[in-house]
Subunit: 331 residues, 2 copies
């Protein structure tokens, strides 16, 4: 398989899962000291990951939490961010200007900041109150953090059972998904690599991934135009521009909002001949209980889209790290 | 001017402003009884209006408020909605299935519902706890409601001064905007009526309008493909697919997030030769104080886009009330 290092990927996921004692210690300390609310802070792809953590928590938790976009926060402010607020964020480079400014402002407003900063020497790593530096696996790190807060609040009684399965089966399960998805991914990439625009539809803890896959992968890295839309919103406008040839992909997850995407999947065949349904249910994930599949279906989808990316990159002869404009000049 | 009934539009806006004593009475009663939080509830265009009310309040208020999408609420739920929650919504038809179900669930969860239901005989009008029936002007009704809550909380000391100006100048000002914008709107419609895709960018209390203008007007009513993006998010992916010929329109408002859109407006000329900046600052709004312009710049923009719609509808020979699929069959 092209660009596939099975052991490296297993080690990466298991390394992220192994952060759990550190996460539990930080969250335990925060809970022991007391806090008022949780602010998931991001921009672009990291904002999208915040949306995923938010919907995951919304399903399970009565804690006071919300998502804030870093650029909006530094312009409009947010009176809910202050003393007693725990800001949680992730940054690969640790130097995104909006994030650096937002952390300064949040701390000035009285909040404490818990940051996953991949690069431990970055400016942000120095600034945050609690820091964990470990590469990649952003969504897993966020969900582990959300789960630790919910466990502390007595809202996740199956926490230990869930993570026992994760520790044992997640990493291996995800590489098996990549293998199982590869033929599909290649055919899909061949079919859609020259789309003039591609529509991605998703819901629940998959919505943030739908948004970021469209924008941060196809637009930013493949330079293919996309629109992403929430499955619920699809029926309130976007449906009108779908015709026989419109390329539409629905990301089907297994959480509570699955039925919103099922509605789109049932509608499309009536008006469109160029749609694709990617359903995480089609992938085994040996060892993971049925009841926990919803919690991780965004990771399963990510394993599938990983393979699509590898093939599009090759077919389009367009290396994904190249940027036209991003950080290429001052703007 | 095509499809322009000045007096009718003036009467429509003034009629909405005249709802203020009713709104103040309902909000006063709610505040006297006490409430825990405010949930702005919508789907599609009405969800977008909720986003506008949210960012307006975020700038001014420490009240506990949030936005919920009706379809997400009826699938995932939201533990913050319960006893002490005031759900605020708007519905033109009063029959949108997701909204009806969401109101039932919110009331079952213990919340009270304050609905603007245009059609007073609709199912929703019967169901809500507080109802005002008055056609159109959704955003104005929402902002008046938000303002009444903030006034009650002592967060809007200039409330009386602001509404004295609104009552006297808003309606007339908005029709003058339509007149001033008409030539631009016609030229813009002629240039973009056959776009394969059009990008709309906006921020602040204009972001919801950007989202709904793209989806609920161009997609749903003109059948022209669009993508909308928040000005802050533009720089985290979408910028890469802009080239010389890409049609991009930036909605510039006058609230705190104006600078996020200014950044996009400054960037575009470097990479694109097919962009348009629509800036509410270019429209007079006689009698409205400078300090209040941010509060109403989404209404100014709406007056401009009204004129664009009239011209696109004529040029494209496509009556806006026609739907391809929406409510045309079961789905």
């Amino acid at each position: 398989m092209l660009k596939f290092d099975e052991q490296k990927q297993i080690d990466s996921v298991n390394g992220a899962l192994a952060l759990r004692p550190q996460i539990e210690e930080i969250v335990g300390k925060i809970c022991a000291e007391g806090y008022r609310n949780i602010c998931w802070l991001g921009i672009g792809g990291t904002w999208a990951s915040c949306l995923q953590a938010e919907v995951h928590m919304k399903e399970m938790s009565a804690l006071d939490f919300f998502v804030e976009n870093a650029a909006e926060y530094i312009t409009t402010g947010n009176k809910r961010v202050g003393k007693g607020t725990i800001v949680i964020l992730s940054s690969v480079t640790g130097s995104t200007i909006e994030m650096v400014e937002a952390v300064k402002k949040a701390q000035a407003d009285g909040a404490k900041v818990f940051g996953y900063i991949d690069k431990e020497t970055a400016a942000l790593a120095e600034m945050v109150d609690y820091c964990i530096s470990y590469p990649a696996n952003e969504q897993l790190k966020f969900f582990m953090t959300a789960d630790a807060f919910m466990k502390n609040a007595g809202e996740f009684p199956e926490y230990d059972a869930f993570y026992a399965e994760m520790d044992q089966y997640l990493a291996k399960g995800l590489v098996e998904v990549e293998k199982a998805a590869d033929d599909f991914a290649q055919a899909y990439a061949e079919k859609h690599c020259e789309d003039q625009i591609h529509y991605f539809v998703g819901a629940g803890n998959q919505y943030g991934a739908t948004y970021s896959y469209a924008m941060c992968y196809w637009e930013e890295q493949h330079w293919i135009r996309t629109k992403s839309i929430h499955s619920a919103e699809f029926f309130h406008g976007m449906l009108e521009i779908v015709d026989k040839n419109t390329p539409v992909t629905v990301f089907m997850s297994e959480d509570s909002q699955r039925k919103l995407s099922e509605r789109v999947a049932a509608f499309l065949p009536k008006v469109c001949a160029n749609y694709t349904i990617i359903d995480t249910k089609d992938y085994a994930m040996a060892g993971i209980s049925e009841k926990f599949r919803g919690h991780i279906s965004h990771l399963v989808m990510h394993a599938v889209t990983n393979r699509i990316d590898v093939h599009i990159e090759r077919i389009n002869c367009h290396p994904m790290p190249i940027r036209r404009y991003y950080r290429q000049f001052d703007y």
